[in-house]
Amino acid sequence: MDLRLLDALPTDAERDAIDAVVGEADGASDRVAHADRTRRHLLLPALRAAQLRVGWVSEGALGYASRRLSVPPADAYGVASFYALLALEERPADLTHVCTDLSCALKGARVAPGEHASPCLGLCERAPASYRTIAGVAPRELQLPESGPPLPQAGDSSLRLLRRIGAGIDPTSLEAYVAAGGFEQLRRARELGGDTVIGELKESRLLGRGGAAFPTGVKWEAVAGQQAQPHYVVCNADESEPGTFKDRVLMESDPFALVESIAIAAFATGARKAFIYVRAEYPLAHERIRNAIARSAPHLDGIEIELRIGAGAYVCGEETALFQSIEGYRGEPRNKPPFPVEVGLFGKPTAVNNVETLFNVLEVLRDGGADYALTGTEGSTGTRLFCVSGCVERPGLYELPFGATLRELLELAGSAPPKAVLLGGAAGAFVGPELLDLKLTHEDTRAAGVTLGSGVVIVYDERAELVPALLRIAEFFRDESCGQCVPCRVGTVRQEEALMRLAAGAPHADERETLAELAQVMRDASICGLGQTAANAIESAIVNLGVFA
């Protein structure tokens, strides 16, 4: 296609940074080479590279990336302006993003002049937290504070998913991983064959840990059986649900296990290529995963695993938005059906799994599906990771068998008597102290009208204020809505406006009805899970806790 390109030229630094991603231009002409037309998926990495080099995406950089990848400039601008971390106006090379989300707000987060406010950075156990990016020849990205409290259950021999982390295995060493039994399950999977692996998974009744709790074995079986080729595996590590940090801990501290389990997924579903999509705010996880992928090559039998990095968009944790993002588009969710097992990444059958889910695959193979299912309850097998933060003495990541009660979890974490607990994050629900004996399982939470979601447990004690938390949640969804469908794009704005009036004590006459109707319609008519859950927590606080009553 003939593209009209932007006039501005990139600086040498920008050109070099983009070339490092997309390859050197051949220099002979400005014509777009035919082969470039299929490389649109490099758009986001190219824009990110330019920003890491000079601190923002200039007109020259945008134009150069669009020319090299044959993306129309208007289209590239649409993509760049979608992602919160890409700046289209010049800004300081050294910038700090301060988390002002739920857990950090409870710990007194403050945004100083010159700093940017940020949604949850996934550092809730070390709140208040921030993420600092320093652009340059050797760009740096820092998660602050740089370290947090140790794993609360370190040394506990009952740990499974956190076994190696609890035992302090070096996360950068392949040898240490192998010495701890690493890559045995991949070998075992190859011995068993893909069908048997899937059979074990189905027998284990493992449910996905990303929030939707879909049976993993059923998903893999559906992908494995698709005639269309190639198949893909995608690991969803975009973990952005406020209050969630489990996948970060797993990736930072046990990255080889993720590589091994992705290789098993690829083997069982007939894929030769896999992607790990990690949110941008997790630089240590990027480093550890890159290292683990590179060092694991001798074990992978040619299965290619590629790290992809987001650019600040909660909605990209929605599986089809994540595909759009990898493919180089705005992270706008697709309508389903068709589902990813049939039409996924690049339109091909795709198994997309959360990080914690994949860690469980190793346990299923280790124990066998039937034995794995002995832990937990009938409807919720295995163990679950809980991200505990807020008003507790020992915030952090906890692993408990399904069926433990909220009270038991809060006692482990040293919680004060709570006024309320947010389960499942901003897309989850508030519960009051009367639900402390709630068993933390899919079936029990469903019966109580709440959700485990991604395992978020944020504790609000007697002194903590709930109204600011509700306003922050409303702001979060308004900011993170992709803007595609009307119920979510405008509904999240109207929801926030109504809450602000309620908080200010100047509500319209029928404000509660309006909120309830907004909740119903966002749930019923939005395209994706973001809009469908954008009213959950707020509605639960009004209904369960009587806020604004």
Binding site: G483, V486, R489, V521, A525
Partner: protein, 286 residues
């Protein structure tokens, strides 16, 4: 010897819409089924010549067994589906979606939307006078058409028409995010600085008057726009040999707009700059 590939024959599917048995060809959508059953289903972002993007959500229907409502414009019919198009849930969603649009966008030149607002008894004013809107200045940066994004419901039709569904020019895209999402050229440059080729196919698909020919815009501002007197004259474009049908929209003795019918074999509603805007010579009265 030539080989002709014949696709597998399509099956007929039986489903139920509002209690009526409906039989549609495999590959049809629920909207097709509704239309076949004679049920008038509201649509805003749907266009007969465009790939459905299912973003406006006014066409949602209730499908038994589905957790949420489904967009009829893009959901494929399946045998045995039981669909309700006028349940309480459907009416509530359609009404509120129209209220959300009506409270944030100027719909005064969007005849379908206004009709739906009346049909569903929607009250956009319920959100109060302070409700956020997309109000902004009209972009007048060329002699052929204007862009008034205060009227934009973000139906994506112009983007589809400018891109893969018709023109393949890709001069505009959706930029920004959330409530700030908007239709834009690269870096919001003016149309003359952009890749726009002024085919005006975006104007042809715009359902809200956000995109409007300059001739119509000027007449409306001058108070000389007289839609009641408008006549439509069908002719063939004189410029090249393709043979595009033109519909000349005439008010008094002046051509004010040119369109082409969506069901025309050649144009599918699309034209080029000459066909759509090159009519001044007809009325050169000097």
């Amino acid at each position: 010897m030539t080989t002709t590939l014949i696709a597998a024959p399509k099956r007929m599917l039986d489903l139920t819409v509002d209690g009526q048995a409906v039989r549609v060809l495999e590959g049809s959508t629920l909207l097709d089924a509704c239309r076949l059953a004679g049920i008038d289903t509201p649509t805003l972002c749907y266009g007969d010549t465009l790939t459905p993007v299912n973003v406006c959500r006014v066409c949602v229907v209730e499908l038994e067994g589905a957790r949420t409502l489904v967009p009829s414009c893009s959901r494929k019919a399946e045998a045995g589906m039981v669909v309700h198009t006028d349940s309480e849930r459907v009416r509530t969603s359609r009404k509120l979606v129209l209220e959300l649009l009506g409270s944030s966008v100027d719909l005064s030149l969007a005849p379908e939307a206004l009709e739906y607002i009346e049909r569903y008894d929607a009250k956009p004013e319920r959100f109060g006078a302070d409700a956020a809107t997309v109000a902004q200045d009209v972009k007048v940066d060329n002699d052929l058409y204007v862009r008034d994004y205060s009227r934009c419901i973000l139906c994506y039709k112009c983007v589809s028409a400018c891109g893969e569904d018709a023109q393949n020019t890709f001069a505009i895209a959706v930029a920004g995010r959330g409530f700030g999402a908007h239709i834009s050229t690269e870096l919001d440059v003016t149309l003359p600085e952009s890749a726009c080729v002024y085919c005006g196919n975006c104007i042809a698909v715009c359902p809200t008057g956000a995109l409007m020919s300059k001739s119509e815009y000027d007449r409306r501002r001058a108070g000389t726009w007289d839609e009641a007197s408008e006549e439509v004259v069908t002719t063939v474009c004189p410029y090249c040999g393709v043979g595009c049908n033109l519909e000349l929209h005439v008010q008094g003795d002046d051509i004010v707009n040119v369109t082409s019918p969506d069901d025309h074999d050649v144009t599918r509603g699309n034209l080029c700059i000459k066909g759509r805007f090159g009519f001044q010579f007809v009325q050169n009265r000097k």
